[in-house]
């Protein structure tokens, strides 16, 4: 009996998960279809670009600089165990560009952008503003969702690029400032070592993570429950889902780029 119940619960959970994946996929497809069909809301896109891109720069920059700096220290002291201190520039470059840059920027975007999109749209839903949009002949998917997702697809790769550069610079600053590396040869090692595929994978991850972050914010916002509690749940759920999906997508994309 207990076994059957457990199996039943597992089955229900699996079905619910599959249904949720289906709904999110349809939602994302609908958002994309609204990006390419007029009318286009340019002002909304501009505001979203500003909010997601420009205003995230400080957070992204600080995250990247400290991570790059810590990475240089770690590799230096870890590498010393088998006399490989010299690889600091290469490992910092690979670590930042291929992995930490996109992932940390993605997670910071999930914290900063996903939560604010979810809370804003959920509040609009709870106060009937979404219904009001519809009655004013404006499709909320087109007016609220499409500009935000499109903006994230455009601007998060750029943020990742900025994060990569600042992260490498953080490592450079620590390595040349306190670990005794020669600045010119550090930079030369970094540039010579990185391959185009490293950079490409970084930007592609940025694009995917941006899309995930904005889509989750919009999805949870649009499907918010009623009242302040509904807004709270939507916000929490959106950040959890975005963070986990970003980490899972990172694993998949790393596999696609570097082990196939």
């Amino acid at each position: 009996m207990a076994l059957l119940q457990a199996l039943g619960a597992l089955g229900r959970a699996t079905l619910a998960l599959l249904a949720a994946i289906g709904r999110v996929t349809l939602f994302a497809l609908s958002a994309v279809s609204h990006m390419v069909r007029p009318p286009f809301y340019g002002r909304e896109l501009a505001v979203a670009l500003l909010n997601i891109g420009w205003l995230s720069l400080p957070v992204v920059g600080l995250t990247a600089v400290f991570t790059g700096a810590a990475l240089a220290l770690q590799i230096y002291s870890g590498g010393a165990r088998f006399s490989a201190e010299a690889v600091v520039p290469q490992i910092v470059a690979i670590g930042m560009v291929r992995e930490l840059g996109p992932v940390l920027v993605g997670l910071m975007i999930a914290a900063r952008v996903t939560s604010s999109i979810a809370a804003e749209i959920a509040t609009m839903k709870v106060t009937e503003q979404i219904d009001a949009l519809t009655t004013l002949s404006t499709n909320p998917m087109k007016y609220l969702v499409a500009p935000r997702v499109l903006a994230a697809l455009i601007v998060v790769p750029l943020l990742v690029a900025v994060g990569d550069v600042i992260g490498v610079f953080g490592g450079f600053a620590v390595a040349t400032g306190s670990l005794g590396f020669n600045p010119a040869s550090y930079l030369k090692n970094t540039v010579d070592f990185l391959e185009p595929l490293d950079v490409l994978s970084s930007l592609a991850k940025g694009c995917a993570f941006g899309g995930i972050a904005a889509t989750m914010g919009c999805y949870f916002g649009m499907n918010s429950g009623r009242g302040a509690q509904g807004v709270g749940r939507a916000t929490k759920g959106s950040v959890e889902a975005a963070a986990i999906l970003i980490l899972a997508a990172n694993f998949v994309l790393t596999g696609v780029f570097f082990s196939l």
Binding site: Q129, L133, T135
Partner: protein
Amino acid sequence: MIELSNLSKAFGANHVLRGVNLEINKGTSMVIIGGSGTGKSVLLKCILGLVSPDAGTITLDGRDVTQQDRDAFLARFGMLFQGGALFDSLPVWQNVAFRLLRGSLKRPKAEAREIAIEKLRRVGLTPDVADRFPAELSGGMQKRVGLARAIAAEPEIIFFDEPTTGLDPIMAGVINDLIREIVTEMGATAMTITHDMSSVRAIADNVAMLHGGKIRWTGPVSQLDHSGDAHVDQFIHGRAEGPIEAVR
């Protein structure tokens, strides 16, 4: 003409509408009365397609609303939401002129602003309100901005969900006159929800009372006092004793 037949809607175990039948003739003003929580707002949202009914049909000019082109259908409507539902990211005038700033009714910005200020004046608001944000206004002012937004594009059919709730008696009078004027002068069809009996008498051509998920009584406003229905009598006289239970 709007025709509702056998309209039903439940939220989980909460059966809100249980077969509503109602006709609203073109160019007339229908007022819906009924206790709090009986589903008046849900009824309006069903007609607009914001809530999908479980059963029943809604026709506009003889055609099922689900078969019509959604944009063209919505372009004929204006709606004042019970809570105002103003866009708090936009200043007041852009809220009022929302329809005039985008889509098929788009006009030059200056013209849209002028229309917005004119509509604000009609709901008793001065032009200096135009550049403020909804959050900076009082509840009654927000309600009136919502009203201005509902009428801004001069729709054929307008729904008002409690237009005078939260307004002072003088302002309520102004709004009642405005709604009456929109129906008689502009020939619009109006559907108004209100709990204010003086408003009912000022606005209505016809009255319908929603109770227990159905239309309990409907008729011309002149018949309201002689409806012969104990529920209606209790409601319009606001008696605690009667067939309608006070705890719902």
